[in-house]
């Protein structure tokens, strides 16, 4: 995936893994079923409105809390193409990379994008365009090491390549 384009769902600071996918649903492991409950404790309408390719934008510390990989899996399965935030909580950050959910840190974009805006992201350059408002932001591209994991299609394939 080289680019993503979609409408934005905007959230604030410290969106935690319990509101992304609550623990009462952690006995589920099927991605599609997890995706059908994504964000339900913070935004019950999210799953009804989200279209494939849509984008989540949030401010600081997105994904704080638990180590549950179910959180990025639910977001990816709901059809979200990329999450843009000022900062990410560290376990969520690695989990997203490891399962292949694109994420980009960009404080300017987090502040310059509103709910409903149409946004395009170029993963090669890290450039984020707000097509609705005609603004452009430079997001932080992944360091080469992480790009190798992403290019391999996630950590599982990366490990397989390293073993061979």
């Amino acid at each position: 995936m080289k680019t993503a384009k979609g409408n934005v769902f905007k959230y604030g600071a410290n969106v935690d893994t319990d509101v992304i996918i609550p623990a009462r649903l952690l006995n589920i492991t099927d991605p599609a079923e997890l995706g059908s409950h994504c964000m339900e404790d913070i935004d019950p309408d999210f799953v009804n409105k989200v279209q494939s390719g849509d984008i989540i934008v949030a401010t600081k510390n997105f994904g704080c809390g638990s180590s549950r990989e179910h959180a990025p899996i639910a977001i990816k399965a709901a059809g979200v193409s990329v999450v843009i935030a000022e900062t990410f909580a560290r376990i969520f950050y690695r989990n997203a990379i490891n399962i292949g959910l694109p994420i980009i840190e960009c404080p300017d974009a987090a502040n310059g994008i509103e709910a409903g805006d149409l946004v395009e992201v170029d993963f090669n350059t890290g450039i984020i365009k707000n097509l609705t408002k005609g603004l452009s932001f430079q997001g932080q591209a992944f360091p080469p090491f992480m790009q190798r994991i992403i290019n391999a299609g996630g950590l599982v394939n990366y490990v397989n390549e390293s073993i061979i």
């Binding site: 935690d16 623990a23 492991t29 990989e69 990025p72 900062t87 989990n95 599982v156 490990v159």
Partner: protein, 425 residues
């Protein structure tokens, strides 16, 4: 350039390297890989996609069914079965069945699996607990756990660090929980994002091991990668009493670089409570009494978890509840974190005190902390809990509220029915 304690441990676990720097990406050898009944089943599925025939070392993996156990429903039972079958198939030494299990972060140190100088990953965010013993330990997701089980390595970005210089001594009824809630209140839930929290200072000698486990356990609630304590005589005697594993003591270099240093006089810390819905919403008991003269009425108290289910915690709660009764209409749930702690609490008469006070006592489980079972909240209910997160919906209904506190404050609150300090009883 000098290295922090965390950086020294990491450097010693990277092949062909004697020094690491903050920001550097490394691949480190792992001494232990941990998973539980929520995260391990996902990891096992991921590992099956990898081109490996088995685990890297059957002695260096710990699997603990603790979250939704004893199995709360059919799906939980099936997840536990996936983990149990995997453990048997791969002859995992450290799989702990119901009857010998406990809440993972209380259990592993007790079983001697975590010692100074180790690099440990666990597919559970509170894996940072083992920093109390001078280990580098951090939470990861299931795919990292899968790779760790397969190849015995994990990638890390070497963290920068914050230094917390602890001086003085805690007052009566003030514990490690109050210290860490105070610190998170001071720096915020992302105050240590991507960084190490290194605790130093002569005040550490005045903290029990259980205080230190509690403090390190909640480093993640400030966004930290790990929390870590120097290995002093007390930590060393704990390690020797619980483990035959070789250990290594690492110390920060004198010229190690810290992004910030905070000096905290333990004697000034008051009983502290974090209000909904973030651990950073910390208030001292004095502020609470001032702001809420009629009291903050509560419906439930939970005393337990990987944060506060240890024997010190049981003793503190029992000391307060002895000869007293849980307030009318209040539910008080006490959960010793491991079978060993449960047995000690029986032998010391603590469980008798709890039951006579009108509390219920449960077998070890993470259940209520994450809204799984054994104490789920209804809309509008308030719980004072010794657990670690008070996010929206964490313990049940999205309209319920969680107030994080020490076992002493939780026990006192169960007696009065409002958030209370033991000093008020």
């Amino acid at each position: 350039m000098g290295m922090t304690m965390t950086q020294k441990i990491l450097a010693a676990h990277v092949d062909g390297v004697s020094e690491v720097k903050a920001g550097q990406l490394i691949e480190a050898r792992l001494d232990l890989v941990l998973g539980n009944d929520i995260t391990a089943p996902v990891a096992i599925k991921e590992m099956e996609k990898m081109n490996v025939t088995g685990v890297f070392d059957k002695d260096k993996i710990a699997l603990v069914p603790d979250h939704f156990t004893p199995n709360k429903d059919i799906k939980s039972a099936e997840n536990c079965k996936i983990m149990r079958d995997f453990a048997h198939r791969n002859e995992i030494t450290n799989y702990f069945e119901i009857g010998e299990m406990g809440i993972e972060h209380a259990l592993l140190p007790e079983r001697g699996l975590t010692v100074a100088g180790d690099v440990i990953i666990g597919a559970d965010s509170h894996t940072c607990t083992y920093g109390a013993l001078g280990a580098f330990s951090t939470g990861v997701g299931s795919t990292d756990m899968a790779a760790g089980m397969a190849i015995g390595k994990a990638w890390f970005k070497v963290p920068a660090a914050l230094r917390f210089n602890l001086t003085g001594q805690l007052n009566k009824w003030v514990s490690g929980k109050d210290v860490i809630l105070h610190i998170i209140g001071m720096i915020g839930v992302d105050g240590a994002l991507y960084k190490s929290m290194e605790f130093v200072g002569d005040g550490i000698a005045n903290l029990t091991m259980d205080d230190r486990f509690t403090i390190a356990n909640m480093a993640i609630e400030a966004g930290a990668k790990n929390g870590i304590f120097p290995v002093d005589e007390l930590a060393l005697s704990y390690i020797k009493a619980h483990s035959d594993k070789p250990y290594t003591i690492y110390e920060a270099d004198a010229d190690a670089i810290y992004d910030e240093e905070y000096i905290i006089d333990l004697g000034t810390i008051r009983p502290t409570v974090s209000f909904p819905h973030l651990p950073e919403n910390a208030k001292t008991i004095d502020e609470i009494i001032n702001e809420f003269p009629d009291g903050v009425k509560i419906d439930q108290v939970v005393i337990g978890s990987c944060t506060n289910g240890r024997i010190d915690d049981m003793r503190a709660a029992a000391e307060i509840m002895k000869g007293r009764k849980v307030a009318k209409g209040m539910r008080c749930i006490v959960i010793p974190a491991t079978q060993k702690i449960y047995l000690e609490a029986i032998e010391e008469g603590l469980l008798k005190i709890f039951v006579e006070a009108g509390a219920v006592v449960s077998t070890p489980t993470c259940g209520p902390c994450l809204g799984g079972f054994m104490g789920v909240l209804a809309a509008g209910e308030r719980c004072v809990s010794t657990t670690n997160r008070n996010f929206i919906g964490r313990m049940g209904h999205v309209d319920s509220e969680i107030y994080l506190a020490s076992p002493a404050v939780a026990a006192a609150s169960s007696i009065t029915g409002v958030i209370s300090s033991p000093e008020e009883l």
